[in-house]
């Protein structure tokens, strides 16, 4: 069996399971797995950026959070008692301020466009992309070293988090936005605990994975593979490496934004904790465990880590041990299995195929 066929089969199997699952789950678990699938989307973005382009962004939480906030703003305004001005804003207003989005609190006019859901969705994808474009342009043009890129992205996420917490009248502050209406598009209401939301997320994951796979299988993916190994050498072959990195970085930011959008839809809130250091870094472990250079691996890694994490946090015995397990995961994956579960699986498959492949070479 050719390697290509095996890969195809793996993807098919994975998505078959994903799409079949809701029929075996109650509504609570349907929602749970939907959230994990959201995380999987995020992990695909990280795998693309880190595994393929060598950019370790420790601040994907920024883009994820922005995506969540953008749509949450629209969903907040979709709630009847948040019109014309959201409840939390009323609590933070000056006594004599007009009850109008344009001027209720400083900057509240920024909320006005979000009365349209489409703006919320578009902003959730484009704003992260634009931020990534600006930051990425400067970073890659100036050939900022990989470690510094990680620190810069981390610091940026922290800045985002601080700005949000600190602007309570505008953003809901520390508590975030939690008074959201369920997503409603064209008359269809998406119940977070129903199959509709689950399939929305699953479909998004499928699209993201397909697009990413497509990118990776073109000549661009080939160039990226070279860049990952020796980006200086690639320059001497005539490629503007920074443009490639910029493209992938923006794309992965957009993916994180999409994941954030869906997070708000499934979990019905957006909060500054989504931009925290630990959340951003834990996204990396999902991709690392599953296999940083494998898109499917990253999905599976996200599912596994989060599944075990939720199970552990609900068990009195396991709960105090979980952060240690997580920490150990970081250490061990990096030390012992740098290519993650996907790497191990590929190794097994290669061993199984060995007698055959020698024949192929001889022919």
């Amino acid at each position: 069996m050719k390697e290509r066929t095996i890969t195809l089969a793996a993807y098919f199997l994975f998505f078959a399971v994903v799409f079949a699952l809701p029929f075996a789950l109650n509504s609570f678990w349907t929602n749970r797995i939907a959230v994990y699938l959201v995380y999987a989307i995020c992990a695909v973005g990280i795998s693309l950026s880190w595994g393929y382009a060598g950019i370790l962004s420790l601040g994907q939480g920024l883009f994820f959070g922005i995506g969540a906030y953008m749509i949450s703003m629209s969903l907040t305004l979709a709630m009847p008692d948040n019109n014309p001005v959201p409840q939390f804003m009323l609590l933070n207003m000056e006594p004599n301020a007009p009850r109008d989005l344009c001027c209720a609190t400083p900057g509240s006019f920024l909320w006005q466009p979000f009365q349209y859901l489409s703006i919320g969705v578009l902003a959730g994808i484009l704003v992260p992309c634009v931020i990534a474009a600006v930051l990425g342009y400067v970073m890659f043009k100036r050939r900022t070293s990989g470690v510094y890129v990680s620190i810069i992205t981390l610091a940026l996420a922290l800045i985002g988090q601080m700005l949000i917490i600190n602007n309570q009248p505008l953003t809901g502050g520390f508590n975030g936005l939690a008074d959201l209406a369920p997503l409603s598009v064209g008359g269809i209401e998406f119940d977070p605990y129903g199959k509709s939301v689950y399939y929305l997320v699953a479909a998004a994951l499928l699209v993201v994975v397909l697009l990413s796979r497509l990118i990776v299988s073109t000549r661009m993916g080939h160039v990226l593979k070279a860049v990952r190994e020796d980006d200086a050498r690639v320059r001497y072959l005539g490629y503007n490496v920074e443009n490639y990195k910029l493209f992938i970085y923006c794309f992965s930011a957009a993916i994180a934004g999409i994941a954030g959008l869906l997070f708000a839809v499934t979990s019905e809130f957006a909060s500054p904790s989504l931009m925290s250091t630990s959340f951003s870094i834990s996204m990396v472990i999902w991709a690392a465990l599953g296999g940083r250079s494998s898109l499917l691996g990253a999905c599976i890694g996200a599912l596994i880590v989060n599944f075990i994490g939720s199970v552990a946090s609900e068990n009195v015995m396991l709960q105090p041990v979980w952060p240690i397990v997580l920490g150990l995961m970081f250490v061990l994956v990096v030390l012992v299995m740098p290519e993650g579960i996907a790497g191990i699986a590929k190794g097994w498959i290669a061993k199984l195929r060995q007698p055959r492949s020698l024949k192929e070479v001889v022919q």
Binding site: L56, L156, M162, I281, P323, I324, F330, L335
Partner: protein, 296 residues
């Protein structure tokens, strides 16, 4: 003026922590995300030593140095050394160590799982008794200077001088500098660069431990107190320029004062935001640091 004094003590702590990070980063190009936890460990050593051994802050200074240095040694040997050259992976692995250390404190090093609670550990906030002579306030030139803050400053100065002597005046120091500048050649000359790495890491961690003792004197001690120090210390290192002791001093001073003044005038959060933005700009446009001259 009080703001200036407060800024000075913030700067002193920052300086000690940053110095430790700078030594490690300068020698091995490794960013140790568990460095902040060394501060936390130093603080907890103080808590435990005062509760169980009756030791005061003065004795805890060398004790915390030792304990933190030992932790550093272990981390270097087990995690950092096998990952040598893989900087991004080291970043992740040390973050994992940080998570583990934090949680270990929370669960009383595992004993908590069995219901055994060690006084001084756990998720609760802890406090450390400060000797009475340090609790005073001096009145000099019309300003109130808390003695403790002066003490912190004093310790920082001493540590700075000791480190300077160590790095520039001893054989170990010259080996350290040689390894930072040209590892392969130095190793080829017979210097055991692996040992230098380990010692540098231990020394850097030890310094952070000492900072932890000082911090415990005026802040509550909790398992997650360490995390902010890594980011702040890294900013100081980057701004000051790696491998430049004076640069670290100056940038710690500047950043400490800026933080203090901004906190007084507007808002602590905005202070940090501005600081972070400033450091991002430095990393982008002057990654060698503000105080380093152009070299090839």
């Amino acid at each position: 003026m009080e703001t200036f004094v407060i800024g000075l003590s913030i700067a002193s702590i920052l300086f000690i922590v940053a110095l430790g990070l700078a030594i490690v980063y300068g020698t091995m190009k490794v960013i140790n995300l568990a460095h902040g936890e060394m501060v936390m460990i130093g603080a907890y050593v103080t808590v435990l030593a005062s509760k169980h051994l009756g030791l005061g802050i003065y004795s805890c200074l060398p004790l915390a140095f030792l304990v933190a240095a030992l932790f550093g040694l272990a981390i270097e040997r087990l995690v950092v050394r096998p990952l040598y050259g893989r900087l991004l992976d080291t970043l992740l692995a040390t973050w994992g160590i940080a998570l583990i250390l934090q949680q270990l404190i929370r669960i009383h090093f595992g004993f908590g799982l069995f219901g055994i609670h060690i006084d001084g550990l756990g998720s609760d906030l802890q406090n450390v008794p400060v000797p009475p002579e340090l609790q005073q306030t001096l009145h000099i030139l019309g300003t109130n200077i808390p003695v403790y803050r002066a003490f912190v400053f004093g310790v920082a100065v001493v540590l700075g001088l000791v480190s300077w002597w160590l790095i520039y005046k001893t054989r170990f120091g010259s080996q350290l500098r040689a390894v930072s500048a040209a590892r392969d050649i130095t190793a080829a000359c017979g210097v055991n660069d692996k040992r230098i790495n380990a010692l540098a890491f231990a020394y850097g961690s030890g310094l952070a431990g000492v900072a932890g003792v000082l911090v415990s004197g005026f802040m509550t001690v909790s398992p997650d107190m360490g995390a902010p120090y890594v980011i702040d210390a890294f900013m100081v290192v980057v701004a000051g320029g790696v491998g430049h002791l004076l640069g670290t001093v100056l940038s710690a001073g500047i950043l400490g004062e800026v933080q203090s003044f901004v906190a007084t005038w507007s808002n602590d959060v905005y202070g940090r935001t501005v600081l972070f933005a400033f450091v991002i700009l430095i990393l982008l446009f002057k990654p060698q640091g503000l105080f380093v001259s152009r070299n090839r």
